[in-house]
C-alpha cells in the first residue's frame, strides 16, 4: 500500500470527525449559554415566586406555572390528534394503498409539512377560530383547541414520514408468515407489522412531540396568549399561553441583564431540557438492541 491513499484517508476522516463532533459541541455550547443566562433567574427571583400562578412580568410577577400548563395542554391535545391520524395515514400508505396511490399521497403529505407555520396561524385566526366559536358555542375561538388542531396538522407530516418508513422496513416475511397462519389483513397489521415496527413508530411520535413543543408562531396567533392555569379538563376550550409564545412576544422588549431577561432564558432552558428528554427517550428506543427472537426471524 503506498502512502498517498493513507494521507487522503486521514484527511477525510479528520473532516468528517470535526463535523460530527462540532454538532455535539454546538449543542453543548447552546446549553451552557442558556445555563449562564437562565440560572441567575433562580438567584434573582425566589423559587417560590417562580412557581406561582400569576405571570405578569412588567410588575415582577414571574409565576411560570401557567406557561408550563399552557404548553402541556396544547402539546397533549396536538398529540391526541396527531397520533391516530398520523399512524392511521402511515398504515394506510404502507400497507393498504396501492402503489400508484402511495406515489401520489406521500409527496402530498410531505407538502403539508412544508407549509410555513405562520401561514397556518393566519388561516387559524381567520377561519378556524370563528368556526370553533360558533360550532362549540364558546366565548371565543382563540383557544388551546385551535392551537392543538394546528399543531396536530404540523406534526402529522413528520409522524407519517417516519412511521411509514418504519412500517415499510418490516421484512415481508413477517406478513407472509401471518397470512399463512390464517390471519386477516387487519390482524396482520395490528398484531404483527405494527408491533414489529414499534421502535420506528415510537420515534416518529417522539419527533412529533418535539416539533409540537417547540412551535411558536402558529400558537402565538391562535391560542389567545392568556396566562391561565390550564389544569381542568375544560381548559382545552379556554385560551392559554405557551412558553414559546411568551419568549417570542417578550424577548424583544427586555433590557439586557434584567430579571425578566433571565426568567425568559430560564423558560428557554426548560424548553431545551424537555426537548432533550424527548429526544433521549426516542433514541434509547431506536438504539435498543433487538431481541433474540427478532434477530432469528429476519
Amino acid at each position: 500500500m503506498d502512502k498517498s491513499p493513507n494521507w487522503r484517508e486521514t484527511f477525510v476522516t479528520a473532516i468528517v470527525k470535526t463535523c460530527g463532533y462540532s454538532a455535539v459541541v454546538f449543542v453543548i455550547l447552546i446549553f451552557f449559554f442558556l445555563l449562564r443566562q437562565g440560572l441567575p433567574a433562580l438567584l434573582e427571583v425566589k423559587l417560590g415566586d417562580l412557581f406561582t400562578t400569576r405571570w405578569y412580568p412588567i410588575e415582577n410577577h414571574f409565576g411560570i406555572l401557567p406557561l408550563l400548563t399552557g404548553s402541556l395542554v396544547v402539546t397533549v391535545g396536538a398529540m391526541l390528534i396527531a397520533i391516530p391520524f398520523g399512524i392511521g395515514t402511515a398504515v394506510f400508505l404502507a400497507e393498504i394503498a396501492p402503489r400508484w396511490m402511495r406515489e401520489i399521497l406521500k409527496p402530498l403529505v410531505e407538502l403539508l409539512g412544508g407549509i410555513p407555520s405562520v401561514v397556518l396561524g393566519f388561516l387559524g385566526i381567520l377561519l378556524l377560530s370563528p368556526f370553533l366559536r360558533v360550532f362549540l358555542n364558546l366565548p371565543t375561538g382563540l383557544t388551546a383547541l385551535a392551537g392543538a388542531l394546528l399543531l396536530g396538522a404540523i406534526a402529522i407530516p413528520t409522524t407519517v414520514s417516519i412511521a411509514e418508513d418504519a412500517l415499510d422496513s418490516v421484512p415481508q416475511g413477517y406478513r407472509e408468515g401471518a397470512l399463512a397462519l390464517g390471519a386477516t389483513k387487519w390482524q396482520t397489521i395490528w398484531r404483527v407489522t405494527l408491533p414489529a415496527a414499534r421502535s420506528g413508530v415510537l420515534t416518529a411520535l417522539m419527533l412529533g412531540v418535539g416539533r409540537t413543543i417547540g412551535e411558536t408562531m402558529a400558537v402565538m396567533m391562535v391560542t389567545g396568549n392568556a396566562p391561565v392555569m390550564a389544569i381542568k379538563l375544560t381548559s382545552i376550550l379556554s385560551p392559554v399561553r405557551t412558553m414559546t409564545a411568551t419568549i417570542a412576544a417578550e424577548m424583544g422588549e427586555v433590557a439586557n441583564g434584567s430579571s425578566h431577561y433571565h426568567v425568559l432564558f430560564l423558560i428557554g432552558l426548560i424548553l431545551f431540557l424537555i426537548s432533550l428528554a424527548v429526544n433521549i427517550t426516542a433514541s434509547s428506543v431506536i438504539f435498543k438492541s433487538r431481541k433474540r427472537a427478532e434477530r432469528v426471524l429476519s
Partner: protein
C-alpha cells in the same frame, strides 16, 4: 467553458444590485445620514408616513422604521442600538435608571396626541360605559354583558401584549383609574394579542368581545361601536375624536413621545423639528391621531 456564462450572469446581477434607486444623486456637498427609529406599534404607521414624506423631500437622509412595542423601543435606546425610540407611554423610573447605568440620557419630545378607543362588536347594544365599569370588566369583576346592561353573553377581553405602551397606559389610566397606589391587574383570562390587527379582527367577528386600541387603528366599520366613556356615572359620556382630545373632555387620551439619547443634534434634530412642524402634523390628523397644537 461552461463556467463563463454563469460568471457573466452572476457579475451582471451584482452590478445591477449596486446600481441603487433611480433619482438618487451622488452625495457631494450634502451630508447623508441614516436614522434608526424603533418602538411603539401605535406610532409605527405615523412614523412610516413621516419617514416616507421626509425622505422624498430630503433624498440624502435614510430613515428605517420598525415596530415591536414601546418597551422594545426604549430597551433598544438603552442598549444603544437605535437613534430615536418611539413610545406611547412615558419612560419609567426603572428604565431611566437602566439607561443612566448604560451611559444613555433619554430626552423626551411630545410628537402627537392619541385617544384610546374602547370598541365592541357592532351587534353589542352597549354603547356607553364609565371608567369604573371598564376597569371592572378588564379586572375580572364583571364577567357577563348583563352586568353593564347588555345581552346575556360572556365577556371576552382583548388587550395588547405587555410590551405595548398602549397596554401599560390602559393599565395605569383605566384599570387603576390613574391611582399610582392601585395594584389591580388585568384578569388572567384577558387575551393578549400580538397586534392591533388581531384585536380588530376578533372584535369584528366575535359578539362577546371588547377591545381597546389607538383611535387611528379603529377601521370605519367599527367606528359606530366605539364606546362613549364617562369619568363617573354622573358625568357626560364622550366619544373620542380630535376635538374631544384637544379640549380634554375625553378621559382616556395620552401624549405620544419620541426619545433620543441626549438633546438631538444634526440630522436627527432636523427630523424632529420637521415632525413638530404644521406639514408633519397634518399627516398626524390624516392618520386619525391628534395633532399637537
Amino acid at each position: 467553458m461552461k463556467a463563463v456564462p454563469l460568471i457573466l450572469l452572476v457579475s451582471l446581477l451584482i452590478c445591477s444590485a449596486c446600481g441603487g434607486s433611480p433619482g438618487q444623486t451622488t452625495p457631494s456637498a450634502r451630508t447623508s445620514a441614516y436614522i434608526q427609529n424603533k418602538g411603539s406599534d401605535t406610532i409605527v404607521n405615523l412614523a412610516l408616513a413621516w419617514a416616507e414624506r421626509y425622505q422624498t423631500e430630503h433624498p440624502d437622509i435614510s430613515i428605517s422604521v420598525t415596530g415591536g412595542g414601546s418597551g422594545t423601543g426604549i430597551a433598544a435606546l438603552i442598549n444603544g442600538t437605535v437613534d430615536i425610540a418611539n413610545a406611547s407611554r412615558a419612560i419609567t423610573a426603572d428604565e431611566i435608571k437602566q439607561a443612566k447605568a448604560n451611559g444613555v440620557n433619554p430626552v423626551q419630545v411630545v410628537i402627537s396626541r392619541d385617544a384610546i378607543a374602547v370598541v365592541v362588536n357592532p351587534q353589542n347594544p352597549v354603547r356607553r360605559l364609565t371608567l369604573q365599569q371598564i376597569s371592572d370588566i378588564y379586572s375580572g369583576k364583571i364577567n357577563n354583558w348583563t352586568g353593564v346592561g347588555g345581552d346575556d353573553r360572556p365577556i371576552v377581553r382583548l388587550s395588547r401584549e405587555t410590551n405595548s405602551g398602549t397596554h401599560v397606559y390602559f393599565l395605569q389610566t383605566v384599570i387603576r383609574l390613574g391611582d399610582p397606589k392601585n395594584t389591580t391587574l388585568f384578569s388572567t383570562d384577558t387575551l393578549l394579542l400580538p397586534s392591533s390587527e388581531g384585536i380588530i379582527n376578533e372584535v369584528r367577528q366575535n359578539p362577546n368581545a371588547i377591545g381597546y386600541d389607538g383611535l387611528g387603528y379603529i377601521p370605519p366599520d367599527l367606528m359606530n361601536s366605539v364606546i362613549a366613556v364617562a369619568v363617573d356615572a354622573g358625568g357626560a359620556y364622550v366619544i373620542p375624536s380630535i376635538t374631544t382630545v384637544n379640549n380634554n373632555s375625553y378621559p382616556v387620551s395620552r401624549d405620544l413621545y419620541m426619545y433620543t439619547n441626549g438633546q438631538p443634534t444634526g440630522a436627527i434634530k432636523d427630523y424632529i423639528n420637521w415632525i413638530l412642524s404644521p406639514e408633519a402634523q397634518k399627516i398626524v390628523a390624516d392618520l386619525g391621531f391628534v395633532p399637537i397644537k
